[in-house]
């Protein structure tokens, strides 16, 4: 009964709901409690007060009250250090399982007060500390280790500060809908499968010079060797050579080619293949049970394949 009530109270007080967009820290979101040092300092003050009374030290009263008041004012400072901050979750780049996911948050300080020693921490204790000058925005990265492939949520984060004297702990909970895509951990190097279609498949896609089909504008992710440097030198802008010959040469990275391992291992091996094929600038396709990604090359193909591998068997693949 009591536990339920406490839980409900906490639910009401801390309002742990997942948010998106920009969060502004207002009074209702900031909580303050004295720290252990704060309580100890209270004890010191009490001791001083007793001394003042006993020995009738007028100046002692002044000192005690000064310290007590300054300590109390530090609570306002702690609150002010966090209030009216605007926070927005940023885009988080995908990582491989086992690496640290760098969650990005944009902190915007619209006021003309500098903020000091803010710490962003997750429930497992991973933390990062930063300062925020007046009228300034900063990009804060919080590293959270990723264990498994799939979506990794940042979970409920705590933003806290003990500025200026460490006597009070002011904190606020931030639970953004931000998540990080975690690719499967690449397996140990293993040879790429042999080509399955016509001869010549799996060779360098750029091997057929004679199949040059024309130029098109550069798009982010196009492999560097395909850039028409000569065209660039002629000041025609960044252009990419297109080849028609690559169409028939296909390397299929196929789940079915790996019959001997269990599911996750297979995904890891496929990840390795995708990375190797991409590094070799091959044209490759990916086949998973119930899913097929047409052959392609470049950054876009790599990301699409890794995305599919990361979310394989995990329901919707939409980010």
């Amino acid at each position: 009964m009591l536990a339920t009530l406490r839980q409900r109270f906490r639910t009401w007080l801390f309002r742990p709901k997942i948010e998106s967009g920009t969060v502004t820290l207002n009074q209702r979101r900031i909580f303050i409690l004295p720290t252990r040092q704060g309580l100890a300092f209270g004890g010191v003050l009490l001791l001083m007060l007793l001394g003042d009374i006993n020995y009738n030290l007028s100046l002692g009263y002044v000192l005690t009250f000064l310290l007590a008041t300054a300590a109390a004012m530090s609570m306002l400072y702690a609150f002010r250090n966090m209030a009216q901050l605007e926070i927005r979750a940023g885009r988080t780049d995908p990582v491989f399982a086992g690496d640290e996911a760098w969650f990005v948050f944009h902190f915007h300080n619209t006021s003309d007060l500098p903020r000091h020693q803010l710490t962003l921490r997750d429930d497992a204790g991973h933390a990062t500390t930063f300062d925020l000058p007046a009228q300034h925005s900063t990009r804060v990265q919080l590293a959270i280790p990723s264990a498994r492939r799939g979506w990794l949520s940042s979970g409920r984060l705590t933003l806290y500060t003990e500025f200026p004297l460490g006597l009070f702990h002011a904190w606020s909970y931030l639970h953004f809908d931000t998540r990080c895509l975690v690719y499967p951990k690449p397996a140990a190097p293993l040879p790429l499968p042999a080509s399955t279609a016509q001869e010549g498949a799996g060779k360098l896609a750029s091997s057929g010079e004679e199949d040059f089909a024309g130029l098109r504008s550069y798009v982010a992710g196009d492999p560097l060797p395909r850039i028409a440097w000569k065209a660039l030198a002629r000041e025609q802008g960044l252009q990419v050579k297109q080849f028609s010959a690559t169409q028939g040469h296909e390397l299929w990275l196929d789940w079915a080619l790996l019959p001997y391992a269990e599911g996750e291992r297979k995904l890891e091996m496929l990840t390795r293949w995708v990375l190797d094929a991409d590094a070799a600038q091959l044209c490759y396709g990916l086949r998973l049970p119930g899913m097929e990604l047409a052959p392609g090359s470049g950054m876009g193909q790599r990301e699409e394949c890794l995305h599919a591998l990361a979310l394989y068997g995990q329901g919707t693949g939409q980010p």
Partner: protein, 644 residues
């Protein structure tokens, strides 16, 4: 939060500042050890070498504690406790391993400040306290803001302290004062200087070298003449040939005082002297505080005066005191040690046989002092076993204690009851504050002689030898080259003015800050219009006051949070965006002005030139660092003209 070198320097500075005022009363070896340890720590910090091992620190600590035990024979009490605290704080600095240790040091140094108030609570001490607090606060803030530079840190610390002052004042005035002590107070809790309950050659002249204030007096009406200002203290009866003591007090009878003239009313603010005497003009009639008037007209407080004390008193300057003295007391007043000072006894016997009565003998003795070439000096030669003989017939140089002592000896030897009275004589008028300052250098010894039908009559042999001592003070009575305290000398008018100003300030400080106790608090609150003051009412007032002040501060401090400053160009641009939003063209959060302008121009081609013009002007103002007033005015006009 890391223990960086600058942070350690800050902690070092804090410890040095809190310990420095104690240097003069710490044992010299402790000062030396602490200085060495601090210098060592500073060197380690500078060089980056490792801290000393634990066992070494433990050894030093044990040796230090042992040394304190040997020096003071205890670890408790004021001096031993303070010494121990300072030694431990210094050693803690050498054992600084975690941030937690730094916090402990900060708390410890705040605590050491308070111990300094046992020794002094003057205005300079208070100012020094503020300086020390500033350094401690700046160091404290440093612990919780790793990157902040020294100057903003000091600014922040100063701001925090400044903001704390109004609330501190409120708390100081309204916080219920409990009359201490709550528990036993160490005997040495306060410094002591002042009159003793005995008098030996040299004791008065030693006191007269001190500038310290004994008490301050303000008179309700016209102050009496300076030569009438005899502030009565201990009365001494017993003489052993060298030292005068009080002897055992006889509580046989109430003292008996017949007033002969008007009474003088005045208020005394007495500095603590750890003895029970309350000083009052000869002869005290009434005191406003609980005090006992002894049979020989001393006013004694119930407990030793350990804090500054204020009382009203009234005295009679013309009086008849104890006209009917008990035979026992008269017997006490003629007792002398046997066998000493034969020549003085012989002189007294001559007077006794040749003169008709006690009054004539008294006058003869005073005339003797006047005529025989006695010299008033602070540096009398040493006297032998027959001190009175030596003084009367050989050296003839002495200070007030010599005159009082030998005068009473002569009287007693002639069979006239007499006793020594010590106290203060005179006082310095501070016309700025309208009160008299009586200093330790005004300490004086005089005598009283009992005459049939007149009771105890004051006789001051010093006044006969050096009349200027009682009329104008010590400075006037002594030659210029005498070793007088600085303040007792006459100074240039400017210096005198400055000194009086300072003393008036000190007096206010003493009255209102240091002397602020239960009575003062009640008096002040009543004057401020609070009726029937009770603890509950005071607590409520305190809470309301604190709440209001905190609310005000919160408003003041948080106001800045909600004031967002946009530059004028941005404001104009935002107005432009609002106009477009009305027309259904909302600028997305990710959209830059350029992209937005392109989109808007495509969507509403008819406004495209205006949109592009405004955007270009805005971008020029905001990003190309063109902050000219003309450009801004042009943008304002363009935005105003932009109509949909």
């Amino acid at each position: 939060m890391k223990l960086t070198a600058p942070l350690v320097y800050g902690l070092l500075a804090s410890i040095v500042l809190v310990s420095a005022p104690h240097a003069e009363h710490l044992p010299p070896w402790v000062v030396a050890v602490c200085t060495m340890l601090l210098a060592w720590r500073a060197y380690l910090n500078w060089s980056g070498n490792a801290l000393p091992p634990r066992w070494l620190l433990l050894t030093v600590t044990l040796a230090g504690v042992g040394g304190i035990l040997i020096e003071f024979h205890t670890l408790f009490g004021r001096d031993a406790g303070v010494t121990l605290l300072i030694l431990l704080a210094t050693l803690k600095l050498l054992e600084l391993r975690a941030v937690r240790d730094a916090t402990v040091l900060i708390y410890l140094s705040s605590f050491i400040i308070i111990t300094n108030f046992f020794y002094s609570q003057s205005i300079p001490t208070a100012l020094f306290m503020l300086l020390t607090l500033l350094v401690i606060m700046a160091t404290w803030i440093h612990m919780h803001t790793g990157t902040l530079a020294l100057r903003p840190r000091l600014r922040l610390a100063g701001l925090l302290l400044l903001q704390a002052i109004p609330l501190t004042l409120l708390l100081f005035v309204l916080f219920p004062r409990v009359q201490g002590p709550l528990w036993g107070m160490p005997q040495d809790a306060y410094s002591q200087s002042g009159l003793d309950d005995k008098m030996a050659p040299g004791s008065m002249s030693r006191l007269s070298l001190s500038d310290a204030v004994a008490f301050r007096v303000s008179f309700a009406g016209t102050p009496p003449l300076r030569e009438q200002m005899y502030w009565r203290g201990p009365v001494l009866w017993d003489y052993d040939g060298r030292t005068w003591t009080q002897g055992t007090e006889v509580r046989s009878k109430q003292p008996q005082l017949d007033a002969q003239g008007a009474t003088v009313d005045y208020t005394v603010t007495l500095e603590p002297h750890n003895k029970r005497w309350l000083f009052a003009l000869d002869m005290p009639a009434k005191l406003s505080v609980p005090a006992r008037l002894t049979y020989d007209f001393q006013t004694l407080s119930r407990a030793p005066v350990s804090t500054r004390m204020r009382y009203d008193a009234s005295s009679n300057l013309s009086y008849r005191a104890n006209v009917e003295e008990t035979p026992y007391q008269l017997q006490r007043a003629v007792a002398l040690p046997i066998g000493l000072n034969p020549r003085a006894r012989q002189l007294a016997t001559e007077w006794r046989t040749s003169l008709p009565n006690a009054e004539a003998i008294m006058n003869a003795a005073l005339t003797y002092f006047n005529r025989q070439g006695f010299v008033y000096t602070l540096e009398p030669p040493l006297l032998g076993t027959n001190a009175v003989d030596d003084f009367l017939f050989n050296s003839k140089k002495g200070f007030c204690e010599h005159y009082a002592s030998s005068f009473v000896f002569l009287m007693r030897a002639a069979g006239v009851p007499a006793r020594v009275v010590t106290g203060y004589q005179g006082g310095e008028f501070n016309d700025l504050g309208g009160y008299y300052i009586v200093r330790q250098s005004d300490a004086h010894a005089w005598t009283e002689v009992w005459l049939q039908g007149r009771g105890w009559v004051r006789a001051d042999p010093t006044a006969v030898i050096a009349p200027s001592r009682v009329q104008a003070g010590l400075n006037a009575a002594l030659p210029d080259n005498a070793a007088l305290p600085f303040l007792a000398r006459t100074q240039s008018p400017l210096l005198l003015r400055l000194r009086f100003n300072l003393d008036a300030l000190t007096n206010q400080w003493n009255q209102w800050v240091l002397g602020y106790n239960t009575e003062r608090q009640f008096a002040l609150l009543t004057r401020l219009g609070m009726e029937d003051i009770s603890w509950r009412k005071m607590a409520i007032n305190l809470l309301i006051g604190v709440g209001m002040l905190v609310g005000l501060f919160a408003l003041f401090m948080l106001r800045r949070l909600y004031v967002q400053r946009h530059d004028p160009a941005q404001m104009l641009y935002l107005r432009f965006c609002r106009k477009l939003a009305h027309a259904g063209l909302q600028r997305a959060a990710h959209e830059g002005p350029q992209d937005f302008a392109n989109r808007a121009a495509l969507a509403r081609p008819q406004w495209a030139p205006a949109i592009r013009d405004i955007t270009a002007r805005y971008l020029a103002l905001r990003y190309e660092d063109r902050t000219g007033a003309d450009e801004l005015r042009a943008l304002r006009r363009a935005v105003a003209a932009f109509k949909l």
